[in-house]
Amino acid sequence: MKTIPVEAYFAVSTALFVLGLLGMIVRRNLVTVLMSLELALNAVNVAFVGADYHMGLVEGQIFALFIIALAAAEAAVGLGIIIAIFRYRLVDSTDEITDMRG
């Protein structure tokens, strides 16, 4: 039944995760940073599902579902915050909102 090695799932998951992290670091636009975040979240989902496939469990899939739901909430709130920032500051890049700098 297990024709795909679980290590392959983890390799893909890790690749997607670090790509998401890299996107968060290098992206300037706030919306694209949020999209990179979504990518990283999906990478975690891949790892969960792959582990389920390997171990014959369903908990990973259930957590994947929760993550999808939370990602939806996160996207809604995050985009709302970005829109609010844009409305008050007319900026859309991360280096413009540095009010918390030391």
Binding site: E7, L16, L19, R27, N42, V46, V49, V58, A76
Partner: protein
């Protein structure tokens, strides 16, 4: 063998799309690449036998969330913002070795976890009843409370998003005088 081929196809697709997500400058292209990556990931889910998660990935992510992003990108007048380059190149170069290191580290952790992971007790059930039914029965019995909490979080997130994102009336100062 065919499954492996399909998996490899979806994996490559997902990774290429992810690279597109972080490299393209125009946000519209970026959201399209993200959509493509999400669809590819749904395909990966199908290869792992997780039909329910894959279907929900397609329905919620690929349709609802992506469309939400598209709405935001098109409805907000981003052109009023000061135009800047889309990437931090210095940070990208600096963080690349770090990211590679992190990749290796996570891979090692996963490999250690694979060799240590026990065999689950549900495989027989899954093969007998099908994956979706088992997921549903466990989700609505063992994880029912967590499910309720997540739905509450969604509700709160929705209300919060509406509150944060709504247009403020500019009559504030007059009203509170």
């Amino acid at each position: 063998m065919v499954r492996l081929l399909i998996f490899t196809f979806f994996s490559l697709w997902a990774i290429v799309s992810a690279i597109g997500v972080i490299t393209f400058t125009n946000p519209i292209y970026v959201i399209l690449w993200l959509l493509s990556a999400l669809i590819a990931i749904a395909g990966i889910f199908f290869t792992a036998g997780a039909e329910l998660v894959g279907a929900l990935q397609l329905l919620i992510y690929a349709v609802a969330i992506a469309v939400f992003y598209v709405f935001v990108l098109t409805a907000v007048p981003w052109e009023k913002a000061v135009k800047k380059s889309s990437h931090y190149r210095t940070e990208g170069v600096l963080s690349f070795p770090l990211i590679l290191l992190l990749y290796l580290e996570i891979a090692v952790v996963f490999l250690l976890g694979v060799t240590a992971s026990p065999e689950g007790q549900l495989r027989g059930l899954i093969e007998k009843f099908g994956n979706t039914e088992v997921v549903g029965s466990i989700l609505f019995s063992k994880y029912f409370f967590a499910f309720e909490v997540v739905s509450l979080v969604l509700l709160i997130g929705m209300i919060g998003a509406v509150l944060i994102g709504r247009k403020e009336n500019q009559t504030y100062e007059d009203d509170t005088r």
